[in-house]
Symmetry: C2
Subunit: 146 residues, 2 copies
DNA sequence: CCTATTGTGGATGTCAAGGTCCACTTGTCT
DNA sequence: AGACAAGTGGACCTTGACATCCACAATAGG
């Protein structure tokens, strides 16, 4: 439903948000979030180009969040790396551009619902979640140390 | 967002619903819905196995809808050919099975919203839509003859 | 200036979804 | 029975997402 790449991006962003302002290397992020390091590098490039993340090269370099977690929604992250496309016009492309057929109007509406759902949670909220007993941290694995 | 295969399946189902009870061949369906005939054959097999559609071999054979359009939702069709998977447990798989972490609880919720949205339209509703001016039929292309 | 560290970009590999083909089976009609 | 019209199943091809690897550019520290 949501791409693997987007999943990886979200894990990385959540981790960065939790480590405010101290740069994290690709290797560090990869280990904690359990994402293949080589591929994560690509994903981070995407996040960097979209401006969600700042990259710093050289010794003591790494990535830091470029946007306040309170102003960053789950949707923002997804759209940055792997945009979910609304249905602009019927795939058959014959009928008018302005109005969708009944079928595709509903399909598009479903995507809209999804967008709305993803847009109403900020990264900050994920980290602030009440931590009673289970799954204290968003990253699941981060929770139990290592 | 929704797979190509599901899109094809929906077009075929809508068309069958519109041609109540007279069997339509793969070729016929393919032409009207503009789906590659060879591939449509595969998709129809899937729909047949899921029981949404009845297949009749031999001369004057073809496919007919096996479920009343009023009882068939868009979601039913999507799930039949290309199920959207809810998130059962955190991908990192370390934390408890019963509760998702804040991040994945929200991602799963987004999928749930999508399901809900797709589940609340029946195929019959698509065909019954008020036809004022534009996009009179769900299949867009079907609308203008041919 | 030199070296170690870190991100960047390109080439390449792998695999499942989408798509094509064809031989085979099932059914109808004469 | 024979011929034709359908769906069925398997083999195969193509493409894009996911993933790996490596040479290169930038930066900090000595």
């Amino acid at each position: 439903m949501i791409s693997q790449t987007a999943e990886y991006a979200l894990r990385a962003i959540v981790y960065l948000a939790d480590q405010c302002d101290t740069p994290q290397t690709t290797r560090q992020i990869a280990e904690v979030t359990r994402v293949p390091a080589g591929y994560l590098a690509k994903v981070m490039q995407g996040l960097s180009r979209s401006g969600l993340v700042r990259a710093q090269r050289g010794l003591h370099g790494g990535f830091t969040l470029a946007v306040p977690p309170k102003e960053l929604t789950v949707l923002n992250v997804v759209q940055a790396v792997d945009p979910l496309r609304r249905i602009e016009r019927c795939p058959l492309g014959i009928v008018s551009h302005q109005s969708l057929c009944p079928l595709h109007r509903r399909l598009d509406n479903a995507v809209a619902m999804m967008e709305k759902s993803l847009a109403c949670s900020t990264i900050a909220e994920l980290l602030a979640e009440p931590k009673r007993g289970t799954a204290p941290k968003p990253l699941c694995a981060i929770a139990d140390g290592r």
